[in-house]
Amino acid sequence: MTLMKLTLRIWRQKNARTEGQFVTYQLDNVSEHMSFLEMLDVLNEGLVAKGEEPVAFDHDCREGICGACSLMINGYPHGPLPKTTTCQLHMRHFKDGDVITVEPWRARAFPVIKDCVTDRSAFDRIMQAGGFISVRTGGTPDANALPIRKRSADLSMDAAACIGCGACVAACKNASAMLFVAAKVGQFAHLPQGQVERKERVKAMIGRMDVEGFGNCTNTYDCEGACPKQIPRRFINEMNRDFIWAALTE
């Protein structure tokens, strides 16, 4: 097993009201089999043992699905490995002597709470604006009453795979949330159940996205590259088409 020595430059910020700065830490004996977050756990245990406050970062499932973990690692959201969340990034992709810079998502709509923890509740509010099909519990038809073309269901699932982590926003030079919004709009747009509210949904969600202070899309698609679930950019194109269609026909 290879053990590494690393230099970590980590963003420390006491709270939303104070200014932050990079602090440098040395870490020895990092195993290649550790996940990136386990490496930070080891750093934090050492800090707490010394009476220093550990680095705060969001995380939970550590299986790449809850979307809680974030972190800009060497300038890449979730680190340099494609299709991988920070919790699934393992240290075998780094080498002895590396200097690693770790910082929070940077976007006006995602203010820092502490260190690398940001407030992503703007995504919840976009969902509240229209990220649903307005069915109530009960009284729904039999699940097989409505056949759905396999290809449509698969496309819907491609979009629905979004984990709401915000890497798309962090990657975008405009801090746009277009890929996040397009993923939810696209999930429903490809299903017959989603047609009834299709126009209202796209207008409401984009409207809310603008209110929350996310930027606009200028079609450079860094979001797609950064997305750990590789939500395809075609959903942005489709959403734009839907948005224009909704605006013209209402």
Binding site: H33, V48, C66, S121, G138, T140
Partner: protein
């Protein structure tokens, strides 16, 4: 403590209909006068909160994550069961009910399980209507697959992300209600205690995890949907923040805790790789549909798997359980893996692993079919281990995954505290001593969408609930207790971190109260846990202050509660001298080593009553009767 399950009378198939008619209703215009607190936003909590709000109740929802969508239901991979019988392979409500009772080793309440099977079909209808993109066949109709413990294909799935898609469906419904103003959402807020007034649950005390402020909320009823306690083992498949604090605090306020020793050790997890390991990752059980489990026949065989010829491999599940083979239920598969590893035939660097081999399936079906079925799981495995499972067999080992035990509830999902309802994994109700695959999602959504919304209304309609606010002195009293506790945690200035205590507790629990338990080990655990707890309360080190975002303090509070919970769990395991489901007592086995149930003495749920700190809790029994399914030896041979 009085245990009245309140099961309806009459034939089992008509009980739920009868009960729904017998329950009292609330006029639509009056519903807005009632409010409920829902703690937890996984499948059970989110679906319950959304459904209650749709009915017109005012709902306050709490979760410790930054968003309700992070709840750990999201990590369920394989699927959700329902008795639709779409594949025409002989499924029915009765069969799903039967499989669940048998799978649970005859330690669940028949009435509840039957109802679960009955409402299972409506869940699929509901989720499809919400836009959950389940897998489909070329006909456009829904696809099904088979899962452990069943001989029919009744599992609906959305790639390897079924939990995610179902949770996002419930989350969407919840967000809609937040947008409409029916639900007030409190994210990054953790419940730290329950407030009981005149014998009824009337509110909770929480900590705002960002500001550190301790606050109270009052309501007409409290619903706990706070999940399971498998993180008591430290290493489990649960998310890092999953904890038992809400149910433990409710237990200390009077809610009976049922069968805490029933824990499920999942057979297909990625083995641990080192001391820094922070959690274990589950590989969906659905993999066992196409993967074959084996170890070398010889002990300490260090050859690489492709160098071991067929004749020197032991496909032990197929050998021991020919009719179910690799799809034997979870408890049986897990113990079989432990057995072969204890014999010295385990694989991988630690020797604690078995192979899950897809070579045959890839040859039979082609790589593309396997990729479509399990592609994302294979990728995840490769990301974690650095090995490509298309080329070399996966290595798997059992890990704590789910807890069947939990707060005792009656047929209405109400605990022994009036007004405190408990749903999803947090309660003890439907899975007996072992849960079948793809049944957790079913239960969470059944409770939340289709059971609680009725039974909570009945509670409101049949109780005389005066209005009260957090100005009531009891709220202040509980808040003070919470504050004092926080103060104690932060003021020790000791030497050990919460994480180190948690790891130490986990090691004790895994060793003594894990896959196999015996009297000596459990008694040792009952010595070791109080000692560790004592050290915790003297030697804990916490950085930062209470009045800020403080993950060390959060963790410390959860570990403190685990340290108490663990003792009752071991006591429960010690008291139940039979083997059943996920609870295997080494003293109780058949001549060929299989688990030996003892129906004469243990056909009951053990419900623990808290009698005060430092006192041994009192055991009560809810005896279980099996009128519909005959008590039989559970055989998968």
């Amino acid at each position: 403590m009085k245990l009245d399950a309140k099961c309806p009378s009459g034939p089992i198939a008509q009980q739920w209909d009868k009960h729904r008619f017998d329950m009292k209703l609330i006029n639509p215009a009056n519903k807005r006068k009632f409010d409920a607190i829902v703690v937890g936003t996984g499948l059970a909590g989110a679906s319950a909160a959304a459904s209650l709000a749709e009915l017109g109740y005012k709902v306050d929802v709490f979760c410790f994550s930054d968003s309700p969508r992070r709840a750990h239901s999201i990590a369920a991979q394989g699927g959700i069961n329902a008795a639709k019988n779409y594949p025409n392979d002989g499924d029915s409500v009765m069969r799903l009910f039967y499989d669940t009772v048998k799978g649970g080793d005859f330690r669940a309440r028949e009435s509840n399980v039957y109802r679960l099977a009955q409402v299972s079909n409506a869940i699929i209808d509901q989720c499809v209507a919400q836009g959950v993109p389940f897998a489909r066949e070329y006909s456009g109709l829904l696809d099904n697959r088979s899962f452990g413990g069943a001989q029919v294909s009744r599992t609906f799935y959305a790639r390897g992300q079924t939990g995610q898609q179902l949770l996002l469906g419930a989350y969407s419904a919840l967000m809609r209600q937040v947008g409409l103003g029916q639900v007030k959402m409190h994210a990054r807020t953790e419940m730290l205690d329950l407030v009981v007034i005149d014998g009824r649950a009337r509110g909770i005390v929480v900590r705002d995890l960002v500001s550190g402020e301790i606050r109270s909320y009052a309501a007409d009823a409290v619903v706990l949907a706070t999940g399971g306690y498998a993180n008591i083992f430290y290493l489990s498949t649960n998310a890092k923040a999953c904890n038992a604090t809400a149910i433990w605090r409710a237990h200390k306020r009077g809610a009976g805790l049922a069968n805490p020793c029933y824990t499920q050790i999942h057979p297909t997890c990625i083995p641990r790789s080192g001391d820094y390991q922070s959690k274990l990752t589950l590989m969906s059980e659905s993999l066992r549909n196409d993967g074959r489990v084996w170890v070398p026949k010889a002990k300490v065989d260090k050859r690489s798997p492709d160098q071991i010829p067929e004749s020197e491999r032991d496909y032990y599940l197929e050998r021991k359980y020919p009719s179910y083979g690799n799809l034997a239920p979870r408890d049986i598969s897990s113990r079989a893996a432990k057995e072969v590893c204890d014999e010295g035939r385990g694989v991988g660097p630690s020797g604690f692993g078995v192979y899950l081999d897809f070579a045959d399936s890839i040859q039979r079906l082609g790589k593309s079919v396997i990729e479509e079925r399990y592609g994302n799981l294979f990728e995840m495995y490769e990301r974690i281990t650095g090995e490509n499972p298309y080329g070399v067999p996966m290595r798997i080992y059992p890990a704590p995954h789910y807890t069947m035990g939990g707060l005792w509830v009656d047929y209405n999902l109400m605990s022994t505290i009036d007004g405190l309802h408990v749903i999803g994994e947090a309660n003890f109700s439907d899975h007996g001593a072992n849960r079948l695959g793809a049944s957790a999602l079913m239960q969470g959504l059944a409770d939340g969408y289709f059971i609680l919304p009725y039974t909570l209304g009945h509670y409101f309609a049949s109780s005389k609930l005066g209005k009260l606010t957090t100005d009531h002195p009891e709220f202040k009293r509980v808040e003070n207790e919470v504050n004092e506790r926080q103060q104690r945690l932060t003021s020790m200035n000791g030497k050990r971190t919460p994480d180190s205590f948690h790891r130490a507790l986990g090691a004790i629990m895994w060793e003594k109260c894990g896959m196999a338990r015996n009297e000596r080990g459990l008694k040792e655990a009952l010595q070791a846990i109080p000692a560790l707890r004592e050290e915790f309360w003297q030697n804990l080190k916490i950085t930062g202050s209470r009045e800020e975002y403080n993950v060390v303090l959060e963790h410390a509070g959860r570990v403190a509660d685990f340290l108490e919970f663990a003792e009752t769990m071991c006591l429960d395991a010690l008291t139940r001298t039979e083997s059943c489901g996920g609870h295997f007592r080494e003293e109780s086995h058949t001549p060929d080593g299989e688990a030996q149930r003892d129906d004469e003495n243990f056909c009951h749920a053990t419900v623990w009553e808290h009698l005060g700190d430092g006192k041994t809790p009192m055991a009560h029994k809810e005896s279980l009767t099996f009128d519909t399914v005959k008590l039989t030896v559970r055989s998968y041979k």
